[in-house]
């Protein structure tokens, strides 16, 4: 029997190692080979190499570890990217809120044109000049009316100054407060708009004389909040006979004579834009609004260290250019929020106009009868005429107010700082981190069990 070379052994070990070996039985080798034959006949087919071990004892810990690592990677990388993609997907809808109502019924009404345009995907429109007259006679009529009205009122007599004071009057900074629902506050410092003056007279519209040449003035509001306009001088924004051009259809001079059939709606939009450069977008927004003939009722710009920049703009935009301005503003940055409403007041508008026309016809009939009436009849007719004219005047005031509201739409813009890619990614990773940690905690026990199983196997 072969012996291996002995290491350094003690005498006892060497003696034990060199003890005479017992000879095995002569047939022991044959018996062992026979046992192998029996095992081979009874056992399964031989397996090939290391595959046998792997099939016998699979190591699932690799799968668990890979699954846990892949889950972590997906959670940390894919979730922020998917969130970014989802936010940029078109077809976002916006919520409607109750419309601002000056005198009509409160509550939201169904939107028509504005909602349809907002739900469709709107490509980012490059900054450009506001569109020309493309809305037909309504826009052209209003613009031309504003120009004519401005020229007309400048030629009128200067109204008498309010009693007890010079002609400077008091600067009115709010318009249609009851309809807008908020206080605009004072104009921002450095505003380029002419101050509006309060009119103590009923028959004149003094603010027109200091109206900015580029921006139509709003209706004058006195302390009582009522709209006071002259009976013969059309209110600002009221359509007059437009100049004879190829693209403009003549419109009635007074709203009660407006038989164009155009829809009269009070539209509002509230939008929030996110951009890395708040000041630049703010300037662009103001420029876009003023270019289409709108004006800024209130503005606020805050830029502080360690604080995100923000700006707010409350503007009124001519209804004809409203959609175009909104589209243009959407292209200035990332649109975070867009809400709006539109209230159709066409029926009320036409109803009041018809009533005013009916009262005017009745007045004319009474005037004709007055010449041929007796003294007693004249007295009665005078009383009736006074009452009729009072009623008609009230209707005209209401209609003029409604016309002013429908000619200009309300636009609230909030510009906030943001949109930095890495900041967004950092925020999204921070939001995804709890999910990744939870996934790791769930996968960790499986990993530990698999490791223990592998060692014991």
């Amino acid at each position: 029997m072969t012996r291996r070379p002995n290491d350094t052994l003690t005498p006892l070990e060497e003696t034990l190692t060199n003890l005479p070996q017992e000879e095995a039985p002569a047939d022991l080798e044959d018996r062992c080979l026979a046992a192998l034959d029996a095992a081979q006949a009874a056992g399964p087919a031989p397996l090939e190499g290391p595959d046998a071990i792997r099939r016998k004892r699979p190591v699932p810990w690799n799968h668990f570890a890979i699954a846990a690592a892949a889950s972590l990677l997906i959670a940390l990388v894919a979730m922020p990217l998917l969130t970014q993609v989802r936010e940029k997907a078109p077809g976002r809808t916006f919520d409607l809120y109750q419309s601002y109502d000056a005198s009509g019924p409160s509550g939201p009404t169904a939107t028509t044109r504005n909602s349809r345009t907002a739900s469709a995907p709107a490509p980012a429109a490059p900054a450009q000049e506001p569109p020309e007259v493309t809305f037909g006679r309504r826009h052209a009529s209003y613009q031309s009316v504003l120009d004519k009205d401005r020229a007309k009122t400048e030629a009128e007599e200067t109204p008498a100054p309010p009693p007890g004071g010079p002609a400077a009057g008091r600067v009115v900074t709010s318009t249609v407060n009851e309809g807008y629902g908020r206080s605009f506050g004072q104009d921002s410092a450095g505003a380029q708009r002419a101050p509006r003056r309060e009119d103590g007279q009923v028959a004149q519209v003094p603010e027109r004389k200091v109206r900015d040449a580029t921006a139509p003035p709003p209706p004058v509001v006195q302390a009582g909040g009522e709209l006071r306009l002259a009976q013969t001088v059309p209110a600002p924004g009221m359509p007059e006979a437009p100049p004879a051009t190829d693209a403009v259809v003549p419109a009635p001079a007074e709203p009660w004579n407006d038989r164009s059939g155009d829809r009269k709606k009070i539209s509002t939009r509230d939008m929030t834009i996110e951009t890395p450069n708040v000041e630049a977008v703010y300037q662009q927004a103001v420029s876009a609004i003023e270019k289409v003939g709108g004006y800024i009722a209130h503005e606020d710009l805050v830029m502080q260290d360690e604080e995100p920049d923000r700006a707010t703009i409350a503007a009124r935009v001519p209804a004809a250019s409203f959609d175009a301005v909104v589209q243009q503003l959407r292209g200035l940055g990332k649109l975070v929020k867009l809400t709006g409403s539109s209230e159709d007041r066409t029926q009320e508008y036409q109803s009041r106009a018809a009533d005013i026309r009916a009262l005017s016809d009745a007045e004319q009939q009474m005037v004709r009868r007055y010449d041929n009436a007796s003294a007693e009849q004249k007295r009665v007719l005078r009383a009736a005429l006074d009452e009729l004219r009072h009623s008609r005047e009230k209707e005209k005031q209401a209609l003029l107010k409604l016309a002013a509201e429908t000619s200009y739409a309300y636009l609230d813009i909030a510009i906030v700082e943001g949109g930095h890619f890495w900041h967004n990614l950092q925020d999204k990773c921070a939001a995804a981190l709890p999910f990744a940690m939870a996934l790791a905690l769930v996968a960790l026990p499986f990993f530990v069990v698999a490791m223990v199983w592998r060692r014991r196997g």
Partner: protein, 194 residues
Amino acid sequence: MTIHLLARSKLGPDRIRSRDRDAWNGLVAAEHQRLFNLHLRLCGDRETAADLTQETFKAAYETAHNFAGRCKPETWLYGVALNISRNWFRRQGRVSTPEPVDDTLPDPEPTPEQLALLHEQSHRVHEAVAALPQTYREVVALRYFADVPAVEIAAAERVPAETVRWRLHRGLKLLWAALAPELGKEQTHDTAAQ
């Protein structure tokens, strides 16, 4: 011997795992004698040792797919032999000798005369080894009767090599503690006879 050496050179883990009959025949030819002596030292009976040797090769062949190749095929075979021996002890209901608590046994320092007596009366050694506790009996039998190095014993039993060396040292002390009195009586008897 030449055949055995030739057979050993062809033994590879893949061939063992794949149950190559040529490889296994060579393994039987090379190791059956050593395995017989190992089982003989562990159980003390020739016929039982032969049966256990046969059962060891059979069990090893049946579980050849479990051989991972981390050690020599012979070492792995000795590990299977130890398991077979333990199973036999359990079937026999034989309780392993309890490990002595006393750890103050002296190191073995046999005289040349005692070593000569051990060589002549090897059956005493075998009986003393069979009486050792199971833990020490196995490592002593593997190391001195199967001539398996301590490193391979550690790989077969999946224990550190230092643990095997400690068991061997402890086992030798226990063995000499059992043999020394007998050898001392023999020496006295021989001296008196002369």
